[in-house]
């Protein structure tokens, strides 16, 4: 039971970082993309490949994963200058699909569907409790940084862009620069989450980062609530708890997977219908 608890809390901290990153673009800036799981994959594979193939040290590989994910996310967000609304959502969904497809087919580099086993981590983290503590510390630091960003002039300008882009332009706000910056920050924390996931699991394959992961992140963020970082942490731990808790229910093992998704979808649906600000969000989902 103790091992499960450590597993659950570590995964919760790692996913919380990714959800908070998602909340920067979607909650702070109102810039909702469907590429988040793809960006997490970029972070995870950047870390894994750098440490496996080039023996890059842990810290440097984590930073590289953040920087590369931020760049990819920022580049993708540039498309929003010309493409808006539903078309942009479709484009970002397609991007996530492309990432998985590239990872599956670039076998020389990624081993495709076989995945990357034996991803290195500092010897310290052979002790799962220490890895858990590290992930929680990184989650808290991420929370502090992102909360500060939210209350800075930059963060408030993101709020103006989210609420009314035209009015923000009339105040002299550079809407494109703000949106791209929010995507870069969002991408950096998605990349951090992906890198830590690679460290935690020790093995990654492209199918980890498909639509199911995207739906999980959307659920964690929406159920917690948009525009507040503590909401992302609460939403992630709550819904991860629900997902993991299902396995303890007295059902046949083959039913558990389906039941988990049904319960998750039902809670998400109820929140969207009856509580559009989520558990503790600042901004209503539209």
């Amino acid at each position: 039971m103790e091992a499960f608890l450590i597993y659950f809390l570590t995964l919760g901290a790692i996913f919380s970082i990714g959800t908070m990153g998602y909340n920067v673009s979607a909650g702070y800036a109102g810039f909702f993309t469907l590429a988040h799981a793809g960006i997490v994959a970029v972070g995870a594979y950047t870390y894994a490949l750098l440490t496996l193939k080039l023996d890059v040290p842990f810290g440097l590989a984590i930073i590289a994963a953040m920087v590369f994910s931020a760049l990819v996310s920022a580049l993708l967000s540039f498309a929003s200058k010309k493409i808006r609304g539903d078309a942009f959502a479709i484009l970002t969904l397609w991007f996530g699909f492309v990432v998985v497809t590239v990872l599956l087919n670039w076998r020389d580099l990624t081993r495709g569907a076989l995945g990357l086993p034996g991803i290195p981590h500092p010897a310290l983290f052979n002790d799962k409790v220490l890895l858990f503590l590290f992930c929680v510390i990184v989650m808290i630091l991420s929370y502090v940084v992102l909360e500060r960003i939210g209350s800075s002039p930059f963060g408030r300008a993101l709020g103006a862009v989210r609420d009314d882009e035209t009015a923000a332009l009339a105040l002299g706000k550079d809407v494109v620069r703000l949106r791209v910056s929010s995507a870069a920050i969002s991408g950096a924390f998605a990349g951090l989450s992906g890198a830590l996931l690679a460290v935690f699991l020790g093995f990654i394959d492209p199918n980890l980062f498909g639509i199911p992961l995207l739906v999980q992140f959307i659920g964690y963020m929406v159920i917690g609530g948009l525009g507040r970082m503590e909401a992302s942490i609460a939403g992630t731990f709550l819904m991860l708890g629900v997902r993991e808790g299902v396995r303890f229910l007295p059902f046949e093992p083959e039913l558990v997977g389906a039941l988990r998704e049904i319960i998750f979808a039902a809670i998400l649906g109820l929140v969207i219908l009856y509580r559009p600000k989520g558990i503790m969000g600042k901004v209503e989902l539209e």
Partner: protein, 241 residues
Amino acid sequence: MALLSINNLSKHFGGVQAVKGCAFDVQPNTITALIGPNGAGKTTVFNLVSGLIEADSGSVVLAGTDLTNLAAHRRARAGLSRTFQLVRLFKNLTVREHVYLALHEDDISLLSKDGPEFEQKMIDVLKTVGLEKPAETLAPDLSYGQQKLLDLARALAKPHQLLMLDEPVAGVNPVLRERFKTLLKELKAKGETILVIEHDMDFVRSVADHVIVMDQGAVLAQGKPEEVLSDKRVLEAYLGT
């Protein structure tokens, strides 16, 4: 020298020529009213001047600086500040946050270094429009009249040379309308230059130094309020007689 000069401004939407060779000046420290029947192109001119829509031709010059090829946010930073006919507030932000955003020209800073002077500026703007009490109220929770005042407060707080007000008293009660009149006169006395779109002729007579009449996308007449408002062409445009 005129503070704002608009020359040969044109814009069409599909087959409709919304603005056609529009040209006028706004002199510094005056209140200029832009009037005309519905569909005359007044708000389109505001949107063309502020860069929210792109002109087919023509130029916009503010205090000697050609704004024609600048994006909307750059025109705003050059000194244009405006309100909207249909109030566009930030629905998840408080009254205070609206003024904060308007005062903060630097939108990329991750550190808040606002001292007591900045705080005092915010209070002054809120006091000017009488919104200091509901400072922590979310914009959608204000009455319609208060929302109009907040729209004005935001435009006032933003550093500017020209204040462009799009129907500031449309739909507001007579008491608040009087307050707006007084406010505009006070602002002018403090040195503001104001370009205002308005349908209420009593309001225009009361506050405007100069009136520009638009009809079918072009300037029909301009001059002092008493001259323009008794001009036969203006009456025909308004009344269709």
